[in-house]
Amino acid sequence: MTGRLHPGLIAFAVLVYIFLMGPLIIVIGSSLSDTTFLTFPPQGLSLRWFERIFEMAAFRRTMVTSFQVATLATCFALIIGIPAAYALNRYRVQLPGWLSTLFVLPILVPEIVLGFSLLRSVQVGAGLPVFSTLLIGHTLLVLPYCVRVISASLASFDFSIEEAAISLGSPPWKTFFTVVLPNVRSGVIAAFILAFITSINDVSVALFLTGPGISTLPIQILAHVEQFFDPVIASVSVLLMFLTVAVMAVVERTLGLTFLTK
């Protein structure tokens, strides 16, 4: 191998970038269009479709719901997922091998099936309110990702560090917070981001679990495009994207900082 990049490789990388960034550019471009229909490249530049979002109560409402559900479901999934991933890795030798597979099995279940079965058993069966069912559904949806990602970062964690801390007088439960968590911080952040994005973009599960009163943003977008073809869905998407990035930044900052100052 020489240090020089093959021109073909560069061309290939550029193509991949275009492929990845294309949809993003089209969506952002269309959202800035001055027309009343979705078009790319945009004709005329205006922010009117962004203003329009806030005139439409349904978009505002569902966006709030989406963020609430995503935040809460992600937090629940982490609260369950971190100890689960910890136990799976800490006691790997003692535990049967299939146990960790069990935790990622739900990924294989088609999300539509998950949504439908929750509708039947929890919402209709147990009579739980829409919001709670949605929360349960999304927690279940993102939990496997949390366990998987945090497991991956625990796999390289040296548990003798934990024993070192205990031998120095730190009680085991406290050791988990002062020694284990700070060292899997990046895994926790990655899990948070992945779970949050999965939840906020979910259609399949929410499709069954949202009711007339409560809906999520992707479902609202779906309902909107069934009747209209205006650029407002593009601007909603852009707004959603930026808000998500903002949440990620906040998470990265706060989790990063609080752990470091411990």
Partner: protein
């Protein structure tokens, strides 16, 4: 604050496998004792039991006046040094060393001062702000040592602390560990599978095999007077010759073995010689004599190797394959017949080996 450690009849299992079998060990206050043995013999398990990370299925652990057997690990006040250092990767060197002091509720200013002092003692004062990832192996081991020492533990335990270091550093560090241990007078248990390392720094060494201690004594005694065949082989007595006493005259014993083996032993040099026993020698304690009629072990010589001070011969004898030494002045060839004569001051008498 030195306290004696006593392990009393410890038995330990992993699942259904027994890994320690009725192991007892007494370490005096301020003493440094090594656990020496091959991989898998239970050294780490012994440390883990003492540290409280594993509960014994039977037996008791006492440190000074305290019964540790049921005490949780974090309340045992034992300093541990691990083979892979086990430093906290997210904390600076200073915070690593101060960690144990923080657990003891010491104020920030005082623990910084104490941790700094300790880093000074291990020669790392100017690296206090570094992260462990930015240190060399030897520096990491010093931090680990400082972290264990600063809490002024009643007991220090090392699990192969030097095996990740290069040969030169290993020798330097073991001297340093011994000096720090001496200066603090902390009772210590040192695990290693390196015989030289164990013998060079320990007051006493426990030689372990298959979850048991085979002999526990000073390095000098272990090296010269092993008490059983396992320890004898371990410390280099390669030649084990089963013999039976034939005639006794005063302190002189004539002993015979298979295939015309006949040796003369002196109980004044070797201690009491029982009726059935095993004579153990190192290669240098078995001299090759070309005089085929002399007393000794009849043999056919095999490969000759040059060792600077002498030749070593691989020899086939009625007692099996032995290794003997011959003078540089008279090299003998492959296939020559010779007698092997034990040098009594380099031999020891072991109880007869049980037939397996």
């Amino acid at each position: 604050m030195a306290a004696p450690l006593s392990l009393e009849h410890l038995t330990a299992h992993y699942g259904t496998t027994k890994v320690l079998d009725d192991l007892s060990l007494d370490v005096g206050a301020g003493e440094l004792v090594s656990l020496l043995g091959a991989s898998g013999c239970g050294k780490t398990t012994t440390l883990r039991l003492t540290a409280g990370f594993l509960a014994p299925t039977a037996g008791a652990i006492r440190l000074g006046d305290t019964d540790l057997t049921r005490l949780p690990a974090h309340r045992r006040n034992i300093g541990l040094v691990f083979q892979n250092y086990a430093l906290f990767p997210h904390l600076s060197v200073l915070d690593n060393v101060a960690f144990g002091l923080k657990q003891r509720g010491m104020g920030s200013a005082e623990r910084t001062r104490k941790a700094d002092d300790m880093l000074q003692r291990v020669g790392l004062a100017d690296l206090a702000e570094r992260l462990p990832g930015e240190l060399s192996g030897g520096q990491r081991q010093r931090v680990a040592l400082a972290r264990a020492l600063v809490i002024e533990p009643q007991l220090l335990m090392f699990d192969e602390p030097l095996s990740n270091l290069d040969a030169k550093l290993r020798v330097d560090m073991r001297v340093e560990i011994r000096q720090l241990q001496r200066a603090n007078g902390t009772t210590s248990v040192f695990v290693t599978h390196d015989q030289e390392e164990a013998f060079s720094i320990s007051d006493r060494v426990a030689i372990m095999d298959a979850g048991r201690i085979r002999q526990f004594d000073t390095p000098e005694v272990l090296y010269q007077r092993p008490s059983n065949a396992f320890v004898a082989r371990f410390v280099g007595f390669e030649n084990l010759i089963p013999l039976t006493s034939a005639t006794r005259q005063g302190s002189i014993v004539h002993a015979k073995g298979d295939g015309g083996i006949s040796v003369v032993l002196d109980q004044e040099q070797l201690g009491a010689v029982p009726d059935r026993f095993t004579l153990a020698t190192r290669p240098d304690g078995l001299r090759v004599s070309p005089d085929a009629d002399a007393e000794g072990i009849p043999s056919t010589l095999g490969l000759r190797t040059y060792l600077g001070r002498a030749y070593h011969y691989q020899a086939e004898t009625p007692a099996g394959h032995l290794v003997a030494a011959g003078p540089l002045s008279r090299p003998l060839d492959i296939g020559a017949t010779a007698r092997l004569v034990p040098e009594l001051e380099q031999c020891c008498i072991l109880p007869a080996e049980e037939a397996p």
